[in-house]
Amino acid sequence: MTKTLFDKVWDSHVIDTIEDGPQILYIDQHLIHEVTSPQAFNELEERAIPIFRPKQVMATADHNTPTINQHLPIKDELSRNQLNQLSINCDKNGITLYDLGHKYNGIVHVISPELGITQPGMTIVCGDSHTSTHGAFGAIAFGIGTSQVAQVFASQCLLLSKPKSLRITVNGKLKNGALPKDVILYIISKLGTNAGTGYFCEYAGDVFRNMSMEGRMTVCNMSIEMGARGGMVAPDETTFNYLKGREFAPKESVFDKKINNWKTLASDEGAVFDKEYFFDASDIEPMITYGTNPGMGIKVSEKIPKVNDASFQKSLAYMGFQQGESLIGKPINYVFIGSCTNSRIEDFRIAANYVKGKKKADNVTAWLVPGSRLVASQIIDEGLKHIFDAAGFKLRQPGCSACLAMNDDKIPQGEYCVSTSNRNFEGRQGQGARTILSGPLVAAATAIEGKIIDLFKTRN
């Protein structure tokens, strides 16, 4: 029988199937952070259940951490308490924690791949919906709730019904200036925010084959924004080259043996998907969003559509935009380059390359928040920091930051922020803040110009 990539990984992790019910799925790697784990630790403690496989859990502090002066005690009492709680819980249970200040600290979905913890064929979960990011390696990776975090603590397993399969194929050659973020924003703008609900998505075709690991992570990261629990790309030479030599990746002969196994992780010829979509790479251009969900996206060169629907109108009213208008020329005061979608070294290279020799507009506050300490050092080592400093950008310390505005990095009420993050929900970046999602190139250009420009016109 032919199998999809998803089938192969899923089926090899099923321990048992409950009659008329879910399956017991074994979890290889559990990632945790400070916000969605404390109640799960409490639950186990109350029920006197030990953590079953602490060595398969990795912890970091990222959501609730400051992005300046990380060496000082955290000012906000509740945040400080939550971080303390994490370190106490990890200590007590023998879990490795890359706490604030540790050389490996950073956003959970950035550090696990860069440390080589994320590997093809694994099942990976985290109490965070963007766990889908790790699917870029051909792993089954998805977000879970805190009750499920407790389940994995207790048993290294989850009870789940197998999702349906979906494949999105994008063939052809991307235009110069169209980035992985534009690809995924384009797909979601076409399919909507719930097209993937109940499905696990595989990304196939030239565009993803030719994409770097960083790019594949950006794409898989946003699978959840079209409702899919996760996204995957079949592992290939790009994947193996990325992993080779990373801190926790298998070494030497073990690595070679693993590769042989990983090479079998592709959908069989003729494998059947429950749903398929096809797109043409040449239709994709730099994208931005104009509304309050990630499906409300257009090409920068396009106009906001006219839709007669109450939710749509409510969304535009929140954003302060009109139907049928173009966003080109809109003044923007905040730019955020960061989040688990676009805070890897490649994203900062793209931004630096554009910014080089230019100065940011006076009206703009531009925050650059690397995804990890390692990315931060790379920015310095590669000389990118000089470029950013000279252009007037602020390079901050790693963390989730303005992506969800749990710390002090908030966009003020009513202000627009062109952001490389993944969610433009009402208030996501601060109460009343208005988020416009984009890739790092559009974000960098906005910071330089102080308004949205049609970059593409000047490039192609």
Binding site: I15, D16, D20, G21, P22, I24, Y26, V35, T36, P38, Q39, N42, E43, R47, I49, F52, N64, L78, S79, N81, Q82, Q85, G127, G143, I144, G145, T146, S147, Q148, A150, Q151, A154, S155, Q156, C157, L158, L159, S161, P163, T193, N194, T197, G198, G227, R229, N261, N293, A310, S311, K314, L404, A405, M406, Q413, R423, F425, E426, G427, Q431, G432
Partner: protein, 195 residues
């Protein structure tokens, strides 16, 4: 977990689509380390303005609409995986959410907290929403055993789907941890069998 079998209640109509978990409970309230107190901040930025004054036009601030059922627009609970959303809805006093579509993670989180997501057809949702908005006294019955939702004295009724394992869990008030722990030997065997 609290048991759930049957509920009769009036409902609160939230006629908005794509309600994401950032609206249900904004991130700045996620700093707690226990499950209590989230109800107070349910839909915080829709219920209150920046100064903390109640926003009169928001349905949950209307005295007319009460009850332990929330009837919401399509695609409820999308976005962040935060289970705090389920705790907030629970904490506020909701026992059932009715919508024509639920996001995956939210649905799972609710079921794990004894909060029942009832997925109905678009047509049914529309009729139900109109009825409640018009008459806030409308009584709704949810029968989990029969998997039915009906509106008293109107004949409006529909069956809903639920995973039979989850249904048993809710009715009997037990959770996945109990089950998984009972399978520990099997899990260990599986670990040993892997290359």
């Amino acid at each position: 977990m609290e048991k759930f079998k049957f509920l009769q209640s009036t409902a609160v109509p939230l006629d908005i689509e794509n309600v994401d978990t950032d609206q249900i409970i904004p991130a700045r309230f996620l700093k707690a380390t226990d499950k209590n107190g989230f109800g107070e901040n349910l839909f915080r930025d829709w219920r209150f303005d920046k100064n903390g004054d109640a926003n009169d036009s928001f349905v949950m601030n209307s005295e007319k609409y009460t009850g332990s059922i929330l009837v919401a627009g399509n695609n409820f609970g999308c976005g962040s995986s935060r289970e705090h959303a389920a705790w907030a809805l629970n904490g506020y006093g909701f026992k059932v959410i009715v919508s024509s579509f639920f996001a995956d993670i939210f649905k799972g989180n609710s079921l794990n907290n004894g909060l029942l997501p009832v997925q109905v057809s678009e047509v049914f949702l529309k009729e139900l929403m109109t009825l409640i908005i018009k008459n806030s006294k409308t009584e709704i019955e949810i029968d989990l055993e029969a998997q039915s939702i009906s509106v008293k004295d109107t004949g409006l009724a529909e069956f809903f789907e639920i995973d039979s394992y989850k249904k048993r869990c809710l009715i009997e008030g037990y959770d996945d941890i109990d089950y998984l722990i009972s399978k520990k030997e099997m899990i260990k065997q599986f670990e040993l069998s892997r290359p």
